[in-house]
């Protein structure tokens, strides 16, 4: 049973990967746009004149990227290359490959997003559980309205406000980038602090918003769980309040919350992309922004594919871990 479940989930993952690659391949074809030609023409025009040999150059590119062969051959070649994580050269930064540029940006995004997502999930879940708990301190009720309001705001909008307040007005934190320009990346304490302080503002704008969402969802689940008969029974048995809270209510209410986490990853990432853009944080989002500005089609494709696969993998892991959290799930076929 367990194995079948994991196999099925892995199949879905492969499906996502294939769909992402296919989407990447066919969408541009539908528009009939030729990214290489467009880019070359653009740079030629920027140079003030159109090269006489432009057509030859495009042909040469086409040959190299295999664009002169029939569509299905191109498609297979593309799938093959994608499977090897070979995303071609960046059009705008020619000698560099897309894979190289993405590999440079990934640690920043993973660090920022991993930390903020785990942090907001943990804080939000606990906060939400306490908000629904009658035994919680009364002052916690005052947290509800701000949590609600924050939850409705996009990450980057809060980011802009925080940027103005904490980096421009008070000048408490650095405003832009991943580390001070000119600093030499090293493993020294000074550099690490530099990195952390640059990450604080983007992280805060994500955590503050996301925590509200998790808290609200958890609160709703807690209210439902606390109405269950087994909770009343536990209460009647005279169990300690803390036991009921942790082992009866929280333990059960956290299950849908974890499912929601798997579903929310995509949204969180979409939001984080914009946060990186606003703060010029050197992760995937900022790279994507740069690629869009430079019309670097291959880079955009590479990033989109990488992110979709990475998120698919994250959801896969969450789903595989889930039966361990909720033993009932492995016996329940998808309804």
């Amino acid at each position: 049973m367990q194995l079948a479940y994991i196999a099925r989930r892995f199949g879905v993952f492969l499906l996502i990967v294939w769909l992402a690659a296919t989407l990447n391949f066919f969408l541009p074809k539908l528009s009939g746009q030729d990214p290489v030609r467009t880019k070359l023409l653009q740079s030629a025009q920027l140079g003030g004149y159109v090269h006489a040999g432009l057509e030859d150059m495009v042909k040469e590119y086409d040959r190299r990227f295999g664009l002169d062969r029939p569509l299905w051959r191109q498609y297979l070649t593309y799938l093959g290359a994608t499977a090897r994580l070979d995303f071609n050269y960046s059009i705008a930064n020619y000698p560099r490959t897309v894979g190289e540029m993405i590999a440079e940006a990934v640690p920043w995004t993973v660090g920022l997003l991993g930390t903020t997502t785990l942090l907001s999930f943990a804080i939000g879940t606990l906060l939400g559980a306490l908000l629904a708990w009658p035994g919680a301190p009364r002052w916690m009720r005052w947290l509800m309205p701000p949590l609600w309001a924050l939850h409705a705001i996009p990450f980057f909008l809060l980011g802009l406000i925080l940027m103005y307040l904490l980096a421009f007005q008070v000048q408490l934190l650095p405003i832009f980038g991943g580390y001070t320009a000119g600093a030499i990346p090293s493993l020294s304490f000074g550099f690490l602090w530099d990195v952390v302080s640059h990450a604080l503002l983007p992280a805060m704008s994500i955590v503050l918003v996301a925590t509200g969402g998790w808290a609200l969802a958890m609160r709703g689940m807690m209210v439902t769980t606390m109405g269950e008969d087994y909770v009343t029974f536990a209460d009647a048995k005279g169990l300690k309040s803390a036991t009921i809270f942790l082992r009866y209510c929280l333990r059960n209410a956290i299950l849908p919350q974890t499912t929601a986490l798997a579903l929310a990853l995509g949204q969180i990432l979409s939001g984080a992309v914009l946060v990186e853009v606003i703060f010029g944080y050197p992760g995937i989002g900022a790279l994507l922004f740069q690629a869009i500005q430079e019309n670097d089609f291959f880079l955009i494709q590479g990033i989109v594919f990488t992110v979709i696969v990475a998120l698919g993998l994250a959801t896969l892991i969450l789903d595989v871990v889930y039966p361990w959290l909720d033993p009932r799930i492995s016996y329940r076929r998808a309804d």
Binding site: M226, L269, L274
Partner: protein, 311 residues
């Protein structure tokens, strides 16, 4: 402790009791609405915020010359003054005019995409949830997989592919291409529970046809829920459109809220201390999102009284 639990889970007076004891028939409707809004505060807050916004757009369109929202129509980078209450930006737009012209555009994108999304979503959800079988598996699979993918990135690939100066309407269509996923999923879940209700069963035994049951028996019961879904879809669509615009994939010629944010980011307005440039769009966007959010919560409360936040 048990008492405390009761307090949370629903000892509050049920609002389903539709007629509050009012002596006079006259003005009872208005009275009821006011009384209800006082209880459903989220709905009230949402309506107030959105009404203020509507008022701003209507009065603005009547009194402000929106031609000033074009670049180079006023002196650039003027802080707020009597002539330009919201100041002007670096390209020489009057920001008040830009807001008056741009807010409806952003809302329009949201409404078109939101309506399309919920429309398609409802259709698919009913087909999947009511008829089940293969169709259900396929539709459900697509929606589930589609939702785990970061929507903004897919939208980016689409927007880049059709590039060459998007219009506001094209933006709306692009955003709508993914906006049906969430409604399909959530409405389908509702249809599934509704399907097993007694009155649907009775209708089926009476020989009512599928479409008839869906339209006459299930739809009316889902209306409040559909309304809540619609509002949250509009909000999600606006968020997606603003996301695309901030990345530079929006309609460059239109002064939508997202494009204003794009120029703010492009010109590093915050670093340069041009505070008036970003205050107005941010306040308006906040009003849009908060208004739509509280409206959703309020409508949810109507749709599903058991969810009531009665603390």
């Amino acid at each position: 402790m048990t008492r405390g639990l009761e307090k949370v889970t629903g000892a509050a007076p049920a609002f389903t009791d539709p007629l509050p004891p009012t002596p006079s028939r006259k003005g009872r409707g208005r009275h009821f609405i006011v009384r209800y809004l006082r209880r459903n505060l989220s709905l009230a807050v949402g309506i107030i915020l959105l009404s203020l916004l509507a008022l701003f757009i209507v009065i603005g369109n009547l009194t402000v010359d929106t031609e000033l929202a074009r670049p180079l129509s006023v002196r650039a980078l003027q802080p707020p003054s009597w002539d330009h209450p919201f100041g002007t930006d670096r390209q020489g737009r009057d920001l008040l005019a830009a807001m008056v012209a741009g807010t409806p555009l952003t809302l329009k994108i949201g409404f078109i995409a939101g309506f399309l999304g919920v429309g398609i979503g409802t259709l698919l959800a009913f087909v999947a949830g009511y008829y089940r079988g293969m169709t259900d598996t396929v539709i459900r699979g697509i929606a589930d997989i589609g939702l785990t993918v970061p929507g903004l990135l897919v939208l980016i690939v689409i927007a880049v592919s059709v590039r060459g100066g998007l219009t506001v309407n094209e933006m709306a269509i692009i955003v709508a291409s993914l906006a049906w996923l969430n409604p399909t999923r959530t409405i389908r879940a509702q249809v599934l529970t509704l399907r097993e209700r007694g009155y649907v069963e009775v209708a089926r035994l009476n020989g009512m046809s599928g479409p008839d049951i869906i339209l006459r028996e299930m739809m009316p019961n889902l209306l409040p829920y559909l309304a809540a879904t619609l509002v949250s879809s509009v909000s999600a669509a606006i968020l997606a459109s603003i996301g695309l615009e901030v990345l530079g994939l929006g309609p460059l010629e239109s002064p939508t809220l997202g494009m204003t944010l794009y120029w703010i980011n492009f010109n590093a307005a915050i670093l340069n201390g041009w505070w008036w440039w970003w205050v107005a769009p941010i306040v308006i966007i906040l009003m849009v999102f908060l208004g739509l959010f509280f409206l959703t919560v309020g409508l949810d409360e109507i749709a599903n009284p058991r969810l009531r936040q009665s603390v």
